[in-house]
């Protein structure tokens, strides 16, 4: 079986303005949403209390909310999730209370609604820890991007390819963050882990395409750069799609079977994989072409120049 029985020859380069525009729109929408709506940060980053409670009968959300307010919790968020007997509670950070107090008051309030209520999961994160996790998540993003940029600069010899790869690498997490901002899906530590994995993984295709571009330039020095790029993308297209389909199979399995804990994580991966595939096919090579990439840049005729460009 093959996705493409014959070698494809899609004119990716000729149509690149369309793909640029599409990417630009998505990136702008993502950024605007991020800066206006922000992210629905989970308690990992804000501090606070998150609990899952199992009731013996259908939970009365309003009663739970009223009891929690009466117990002195401000703005309790109470939601039904899963079955009607399961509720999720989210409380904002309250620096005045110790974790033990929070727990006993929470349990007291719940027991007054339903004596058989059971706290299945309880996370209490101090505001201080929340801050630190936020800072370390930002550092993790920064370091990953930094090392990947370093790697790209070393690997691709010419800044034209490097720029293409870097923009593609930035493109994907921006879209993932945009999705989380627009849908207000809870953004927790696991999502950050997924975004880092996406940053690493999305570059994967770009690297394979660029690898092929180098190879093609070596054998066809005379061909027009646009033709070489088109050929390279088309020749690796089968592999690009195949790999992503297989990875998507497992991510979809995680999304539907992994439960609520892994939901945000798998969503981030799925969107990242789709965005990554798109950017490595439509964007990264096109940018290199618009920067004036020619065979000369990849394989300079004068050996000395090649040495100069090595780091």
């Amino acid at each position: 079986m093959e996705f493409f029985s014959h070698q494809t020859s899609f004119p990716f380069m000729a149509t690149r303005k369309v793909w640029y525009a599409l990417s630009a729109i998505l990136v702008i929408v993502s950024l605007v949403s991020f800066f206006t709506r922000g992210l629905n940060l989970a308690i990992d980053f804000t501090g606070g209390v998150s609990a899952e409670v199992n009731f013996t009968r259908a939970a009365d959300v309003d009663a739970v909310r009223a009891q929690l307010t009466a117990a002195g919790f401000h703005e309790p968020e109470v939601q039904i999730f899963g079955s009607s007997r399961d509720i999720a509670i989210r409380l904002p950070p309250d620096a005045k209370q110790t974790a033990t107090e929070v727990r006993s008051r929470l349990e007291g309030a719940l027991k007054s609604v339903d004596a058989g209520a059971q706290v299945v999961q309880l996370d209490i994160v101090g505001p201080q820890v929340g801050n630190e996790l936020r800072v370390s998540a930002i550092w993790a993003l920064f370091f990953t991007l930094f090392f990947i940029f370093l790697y790209i600069a070393w690997r691709f010899h010419t800044w034209r390819l490097s720029l293409g790869a870097i923009l593609a690498v930035l493109h994907d997490p921006i879209l993932v963050i945009g999705f989380f901002s627009i849908t207000q899906t809870p953004f927790d530590l696991a999502v950050v882990a997924a975004i880092l994995a996406v940053i690493g993984y999305s570059l994967n295709d770009t690297v394979v395409v660029f690898d092929r571009i180098r190879e093609r330039f070596e054998t066809n020095r005379r061909s027009a750069p646009a033709t070489v790029l088109d050929e390279s993308i088309n020749q690796t297209l089968s592999r690009t799609i195949m790999t992503k389909v297989v990875t998507s199979i497992v991510v979809v399995a995680l999304l539907f079977l992994g439960g609520s804990v892994l939901k945000g994580f798998s969503e981030a991966l799925l969107i990242g994989i789709i965005a990554g595939t798109y950017s490595s096919i439509y964007i990264s090579s096109a940018i290199a072409l618009d920067c004036g990439l020619t065979a000369e840049h990849v394989f300079p005729t004068v050996k000395k120049a090649a040495l100069d460009q090595l780091p």
Partner: protein, 625 residues
């Protein structure tokens, strides 16, 4: 012609066999079990184990094979119901001798266990349990040490009769935390003699002499290294105390470890009643024994809010009425040598033993104050954060509660009983006192609890997603690449085994994100195979012979495979270094998975394909879809 060096075959075979051996313990599952440890921390003997087993048989509980692991007896049960019944039975009969903990015993066969092979430990999100992160107040430890130096200095100068204008701890660095002891001498003092006198008291500190406008000063500075050492000591002491308390709780496989500079993380698998546990772990508790002020009326004092001279008013008491206590402390918690809970004629009691000095003080007091009342004050420290002008201000709060107030019935010295408590209260108080008060304040700053049913659900979900995801990938590869696809499937399976083996060897605990990492590795590891197979297809299209196509496929795909894996590796390593908890688990799996997948895809599949298509045989076409 297609060939592969013999040593490479051997390497692949040896690695995979070892991997299979190390991964094996993970496939046997677990039995509900009861961990029985001796209260005095000595090892359970085989005779004692036999006696316990006989006792359980007598109660017609179905025990499986039991074994002793690092001094603790593990008894298996056929069902959770039997496990719970056995715990209650043992607790009832052997309350003074053993501590029990509910646990799981891996069903690993004896010969594997003898080789030291164990399954991956499960993280708290999969087993259920309690995770706590404590902040240790290390600066208080440093301040305490300095205060000690200051006291010694004061004593030394007084002994040498050297007049002092001022003696205090000061902050000589920008951060405002005291790091030195400064003595300002009175004008008539002899600086040389003062320095000699201080030499002994401030030993270890860096001493400098100076003349400031306020007078001649002598400064003892604690170096950064000394401060660090003092902080480390405080953390170590707290870890030891926490370990003791955790052991007293009877939790199986607890983890108490340092995290960062001033944090301790505690993981208690299987613990459900987190409120009680946290209460016991987090308390910085000490006791004070004081006489009650019987001349004055406590209620009156409570109304005016003013205590008579020489007394202190306690509003917060266990018995609901305010009480006036004498200011003099007879004995304190750190003079306590043992505390056990037991029974007295008046119900549950805590038996207390004091050291010699406190015993002496107690003897004098009780002799002079027979039939008067003595109270026990429990002093607990906790941290409170409030918002002042939009800024978070943290301060330490000391709660003092009079937990007991009893008539002195007889003259006693270093051994006596506190009565008037509930049974569980007595047990808790004894435990709290016995495990020693923490060196410096610790405060819980993060708590995560997962119920056991949720843990089981998480495992189930993770395993289901793993099986379905893998099955999907296997099927897809087989359809898309035919025989080559099946080869890839075998290689993927080998990859999962290798990854499991590595994780088991590292004893890295498996969390739900870790399982997600394994699933993701399966999805990503396919990439290397796909790159190779697509290359082989291309070569075949060019009209190359099958065997040459295989060789060219492997050779030409190599650079793309290494390149594309390196970027994911970068992300994995960063996450490994910066992440904590389950996220670190995910990063470990992701990083190791990339390495194992490169090994299996490049070496494993090459070995297999060479076995299938190698040699001088003529092959008409490859079954590669």
């Amino acid at each position: 012609m297609l060939q592969y060096a013999r040593w490479k075959y051997i390497l692949v075979a040896v690695v995979l066999l070892l991997a299979l051996l190390f991964a094996l313990p993970n496939f046997f599952g677990e039995d509900p079990a009861l961990q029985v440890a001796r209260k005095d921390h000595s090892a359970v003997t085989t005779d004692a184990a036999k006696e316990l087993e006989a006792f359980l048989k007598e109660r017609s509980l179905h025990t499986g094979q039991s074994y002793i692991d690092s001094g603790r007896l593990m008894v298996r049960f056929a069902s959770v119901a039997d496990q719970l019944a056995a715990r209650d039975a043992v607790n009832e009969k052997y309350a003074g001798t053993y501590i029990t903990a509910l646990s799981f015993a891996p069903r690993t066969p004896e010969f594997l266990r003898a080789l030291g092979l164990r399954p991956m430990p499960l993280g708290l999100d999969l087993r259920g349990g309690l995770y706590l992160l404590y902040q240790v107040d290390v600066n208080a430890a440093v301040a305490q040490a300095l205060e000690g130096y200051a006291q010694d200095a004061r004593r030394a100068l007084a002994a040498a009769k050297i007049p002092v204008k001022d003696l205090s701890t000061v902050a000589l660095e920008g951060d405002g935390r005291p790091n030195a002891v400064r003595v300002v001498l009175a004008p008539e003092a002899d600086a040389g003699a003062a320095r000699t006198a201080l030499g002994q008291a401030l030993q270890g500190l860096t001493i400098s002499t100076d003349t400031l406008p306020s007078g001649a000063t002598i400064t003892g500075l604690m170096t950064t290294a000394q401060i660090r050492e003092r902080q480390d000591y405080a953390i170590q002491q707290n870890i030891t105390t926490l370990r003791n308390r955790v052991n007293e709780l009877g939790v199986s496989e607890p983890i108490v470890q340092r995290q960062g500079i001033d944090r301790i993380n505690v993981q208690l698998p299987g613990v459900q009643n987190s409120a009680e546990v946290k209460d016991i772990l987090g308390r910085v508790a000490t006791l004070e024994f004081r006489l009650e002020d019987m001349q004055n009326n406590a209620l009156e004092a409570a109304q005016t809010g003013r205590a008579p001279l020489g007394s202190k008013l306690y509003m917060h008491t266990r018995f609901g009425r305010p009480v006036l206590l004498k200011r003099e402390v007879i004995a304190t918690g750190d003079q306590l040598t043992n505390a056990t809970s037991g029974q007295s004629q008046e119900g549950p009691a805590v038996n207390i033993k004091l050291d010699a000095r406190a015993g002496e003080a107690m003897l004098k007091t009780t002799q002079a104050n027979l039939n008067k009342r003595m109270a026990v004050v429990l002093i607990e420290k906790r941290r409170e954060t409030t918002e002042v002008d939009g800024k978070k201000v943290t301060r330490d709060v000391t709660d003092e509660e009079v937990i007991n107030d009893a008539t002195i019935r007889g003259v006693f010295s270093n051994q006596f009983q506190i009565t008037g408590l509930g049974a569980s209260e007595a047990r808790e108080l004894a435990l709290l006192l016995r495990s020693g008060s923490l060196a410096t304040g610790i405060y819980s700053i993060e708590e995560r609890a997962v119920g056991p049913s949720l843990g089981r659900e998480n495992i189930q979900k993770g395993v289901t997603a793993l099986i379905v995801g893998m099955a999907g990938v296997f099927l897809f590869m087989a359809i898309y690449y035919r025989t080559f696809g099946l080869v890839a499937d075998l290689v993927l399976l080998a990859n999962v085994v290798l990854l499991t083996a590595l994780l088991s060897m590292m004893r890295a605990s498996l969390s739900l994100p870790g399982i997600a990492g394994i699933i993701l590795t399966v999805g990503m590891a396919v990439d290397a195979n796909v790159l190779i197979y697509e290359r082989i297809r291309e070569e075949i299209r060019k009209g190359v012979t099958p065997q040459a196509a295989i060789r060219a496929g492997f050779e030409k795909a190599l650079s793309a495979i290494t390149d594309s894996n390196i970027t994911t590796l970068i992300a994995g390593v960063v996450l490994w270094v910066l992440g904590t908890g389950p996220i670190k688990g995910f990063a470990i799996v992701l990083t190791l998975g990339i390495i194992t997948s490169m090994f299996t895809a490049l070496m494993g599949s090459r070995a297999l394909l060479t076995l299938m298509y190698g040699g001088r045989r003529k092959i008409a076409r490859l079954s590669i879809g």
